[in-house]
Amino acid sequence: MDFQAYNKIFVCKENIQNVKVEGTVIGYEFKIKYPSYRGTFLSCIEELRFKMDGEEIAKDDIYFCLNNKQFLLDELPECFKEYWFVREKATVRVMKAGGIESGEHELNAFMKHRIPYTGYFGQYLVLDSDVTDRLTAE
């Protein structure tokens, strides 16, 4: 199955960071990269979901940050001029009062993404990247 080895770069092995605003923790952040050999347009992301310690993170609590901009997941299908360079880390901010407990956590990242040049006979290849990794929160 083509492309599968690239999933190894999907979840970045960096620590999860709590986000503080003037001393108040309003959420936490982790980083992901686009799992392929080349970058893509954000509009090619058909689904993007995360589970932290087995629990689905509500879509409305997620802000996707890339290229010095912030996107709602619902905005991604419209982002056909926004390119995600393959070595660029996107920040996923999760809004959660109090943030995340320090220590180890299990993150599952799931992305359904269209490969935009593969419509050889009409159908585009749509891939599932489904990665679970253990990350440490500081």
Partner: protein, 323 residues
């Protein structure tokens, strides 16, 4: 001295590049150290500003090519037809992407842009004046699952041999001649849950033409069924090598695609021993790019070692026919 030279697409080092073991300069230094001269770049992979490249970045790239004494050969562009969620790209958008790639390639000193089949015969033809204006070759890659019998290629060849002669051409990718699944593919199938004895059965069935009905009705789990379907579908209809001579005059460049080489003697998947002499005897002059693609399947493989096998194997084949 042969008219055939072996170059390299930087894409061969995808594993090292995306895992941040080598950056663009690191890859260029590596290919220089390996003895390569002609290079191909995929800007969608290695240009952080893609798809809108600044003159500063292009100057930086040119500087690196000079520093490592490398020859720019091919600028690999895409027709990303499915960028938008609501529709395919329009003709105007395809032209815009293609024009931009040709401008960037020209500025960076590349004599050729590789594009993809989705450009369509109509738009391909419309690019001729711009090719002439920039003195730039524009080529379409013939990549699996396409092959010379796909109807649109008849039209492409007519344009290449007719009004686009000398400017419009194509790039053969050796994926179209693959006859067998490669080792990394088979290892992955086992990792995903194929039972070894069942995988052997599927391979034997594939050699006899592939019977999907027998798979559907037999004792096979879902990953085994998927593997059989993919194997029978992908590797059962390789393009005919004897057809190469018919269109070699339009072939400006070749992707020496390979997935895994266990040694420098033979590849059980792609028939290099037939391909290289046929290409040479047909009169091909130019670069065959070393294109390692096992990185799709396994990131633990050493790309440099794979490329060394590729060069040794194919140099041996080429030398043998020149003696």
């Amino acid at each position: 001295m042969s008219d055939i030279k072996f170059g390299i697409t930087l894409y061969s080092f995808s594993t090292e590049y995306i895992h941040e073991k080598l950056d663009l300069e690191g890859v260029l230094k590596k290919v220089k150290d390996m003895g390569y001269k002609g290079i191909e770049i995929i800007p969608a992979q290695m240009a952080p500003e893609y798809p809108y490249l600044s003159d500063e970045w292009i100057e930086e790239l040119k500087g690196l090519l000079v520093k490592y004494e490398l020859e720019p050969v091919c600028w690999s562009a895409y027709i990303d037809m499915g960028i938008r969620s609501d529709r395919d790209l329009t003709e105007q958008e395809i032209i815009q992407y293609t024009v931009n790639d040709m401008i960037y390639a020209k500025k960076a000193g590349f004599p050729m842009v590789r594009t993809q089949h989705a450009i369509s015969p109509e738009i391909f033809r419309k690019m001729i004046p711009f090719c002439k204006q920039l003195d730039m070759k524009l080529t379409i890659e013939m990549h699996h699952p396409h092959h010379p019998e796909v109807p649109v290629w008849k039209e492409f060849f007519e344009i290449m041999k007719g009004e686009g002669k000398g400017y419009l051409g194509y790039v053969i990718d050796f994926s179209i001649y693959q006859t067998m699944p490669h080792k990394l593919y088979l290892d992955q199938a086992l990792e995903y849950g194929c039972r070894p004895e069942k995988l052997d059965e599927i391979i034997e069935m594939h050699k006899k033409g592939g019977d999907m009905e027998a798979i559907e009705n037999g004792d096979y789990n879902s990953i085994e069924k998927h593997t059989a379907e993919e194997m029978f579908g992908k590797f059962s209809a390789p393009a005919r090598i004897d057809q190469i001579k018919d269109t070699i005059d339009c072939c400006f460049y070749i992707h020496g695609k390979f997935y895994y080489l266990d040694n420098s003697e033979h590849d059980p998947c792609i028939p290099f021993e037939e391909l290289i002499p046929t290409i040479r005897n047909a009169g091909f002059k130019g670069y065959i790019a070393s294109e390692y693609e096992g990185h799709h399947f396994d990131e633990t493989i050493d790309s440099e070692e794979q490329l060394t096998h590729f060069i040794e194997l194919n140099t041996k084949i080429l030398d043998a026919i020149q003696d």
